[in-house]
């Protein structure tokens, strides 16, 4: 697991406390009951706070799954996506 995954998992656990840690990597809007509009806002705020990024309106709408959020972060801050041992 990369540093990005560890931190992102923490954000998901904060936004969706009903998810087990093993469910988080495959979490999507459709399979997570608490991922409603309020949950999405909380997740966005936690990710922005954790990674020091600010998502634009055009991006927020596309953040509908763990892989999607991870991909956006990897694009915004490539260094965070590298395994810890590579850095």
């Amino acid at each position: 697991m990369t540093d990005l995954d560890t931190r992102l998992t923490r954000c998901f656990a904060g936004a969706f406390p009903d998810l087990r840690e093993t469910q988080i990597p495959s979490a999507t809007v459709d399979n997570t009951a608490s991922w409603d509009s309020m949950g999405a806002l909380t997740l966005t705020a936690l990710v922005e706070e954790e990674f020091g990024v600010a998502f634009g309106d055009n991006v927020i709408g596309s953040l509908r799954s763990y892989p999607a959020v991870r991909a956006e972060l990897a694009r915004s801050i490539p260094d965070a996506a590298a395994p810890v041992s590579d850095r």
């Binding site: 923490r10 509009s37 909380t42 705020a45 936690l46 706070e49 927020i60």
Partner: protein
Amino acid sequence: MKLAEALRIFREPADDANTFLVSLCTGFTPLHLQTFLGAHLRQALRNRSVDIGVGLFGDLAGSIDNAAAAPSRHALAVVLEWQDLDPRLGIRRLGGWSPHDLPDILKGCRKMLARLRAGLAEAAANKPIALTLPTLPLPMIGITPSWEESQIRLELDLLLDEFRAQIGELRLARLVSRQELDLRSPLDQRFDVQSELNAGYPYKNTHADVVGELLAHLLAPPLPKKGLITDLDNTLWSGILGEDGVDGIAWTLDRHAQIHGLYQQLLASLAATGVLIGIASKNEPANVQLALERPDMVLPQDRVFPVAAGWGAKSEAIREILRTWNVGPEAVVFVDDSPLELAEVKAAFPEIECLAFATASPSAVWQLLATLRDLFGKHAVSAEDALRTESLRNSAEFALAQGELGSPEDFLEGIEPVLEFSFRKDPPDPRALELLNKTNQFNLNGYRFTEADWQSYLSSPETFLQVISYRDKFGPLGKIAVATGRMNNGSLILDRWVMSCRAFSRRIEHCVLHKLFERFEAEEIRFDFVPTTKNNPLQQFLKEITGDDPQPMSRLTQTRFMERCPKLGHTFQEN
């Protein structure tokens, strides 16, 4: 506090089933503000569970009305923003910002403020309210550039000032300090335009954190400290008394020592609000006496008691002062310019808050004054606050006289004690809540009330409130004891009972029970007793009067009380 931390704190399981129920009234989606408020309340209430209900989007006045009418809710946190006064003052509606719209906007604001005031007045009749007035920047509705104040802004400020003054008069309403908000949350870092447009939530997280914390402070305020012990040389004044002499020490602008004068001025103000001020100084006692008698001292000599001057360790002087005051170290602040002295005292009394007086840095002293104001701040000053230092001096005389006047009965008769009982609970005496929350030693169970809990408890028709005042020939002690409880099938259940340590050794505790038996014609009193680390004096008394080790719901029959109660020569009055 970060949002992730706030979420964790707010969601942590609580030990207490007695949930604190708050209505958060906003015109916007409260989202993370709700989380921050909940987390700060959880911290302030030491892990008691907190439930925060929210109102309808875009209807602040309706939310306040609903919260006022909800009997189960303990308190209201109200957050007013510009768009709640008129939607055109927000950015989610396009009603017009033209100059010709402005008179109508002002008219709408005036009407809405009147409605909000009525709703808040109704709510504040029996529920505590914490309130912020607009915290966000006003949109660009004026015609002036940013550096020139606009007429509409001036008129809005006038309306808000009037509203602020009206709210300030409501007994249970508290306003968040604008100055503190401005210091903690800069204006340009409050408004999240994107979030407001997308989600109807206008706050950046840093701002929501500060607003939540300040609201929580108002609904669950920290207990103020009781006493301040100060050093003298290069602290209360500039200079070394032993070297510079009585005339060589200074605290004024012309002697480049104004910061010490300001410190004295704050101490005088604290003393006037009932804070105990003592002195611990390494100096010749006679010199200290002469210095304190200087007529230009800003801190009057009669506001200071006791003065512990000598050459022993500071911690020993402080031990003597604590004994005289009869307060615990956790309720005391010590101020000294010497890091060594501060460390020595801290090692002896880890619970004492030790603060440095940085003589060489006026800015640091300025910050110290602000810290002291926060540690000792209170909403209002009671008559007892003005009496406190004087009654401590009288207690010293009282202790001397006690040794001179023979038997306890002779002594009590000689001092002509008078007890005044009040059973009024609407409106409740604010001194009663203060005593319940600050008394440790003679305290039946150590339970504390928030203002909201207190209002809720008293609103029950079964409960009674007994407030006891005392005076004797040494002077008045003011309101020094409180008992609350209810009757249940001939038994009087005593829920809370506290007495100030200043009132010990006068058999007031016996008088309180005597009066309760008499007034309620109770067959027995049952005590909701819980041992604490500090309530040994109460435990001793219960053991003496009941004849048994105190237990939860210990019992005392009227017959047993009359057998064991010593002679009481007090005069009883009731108002």
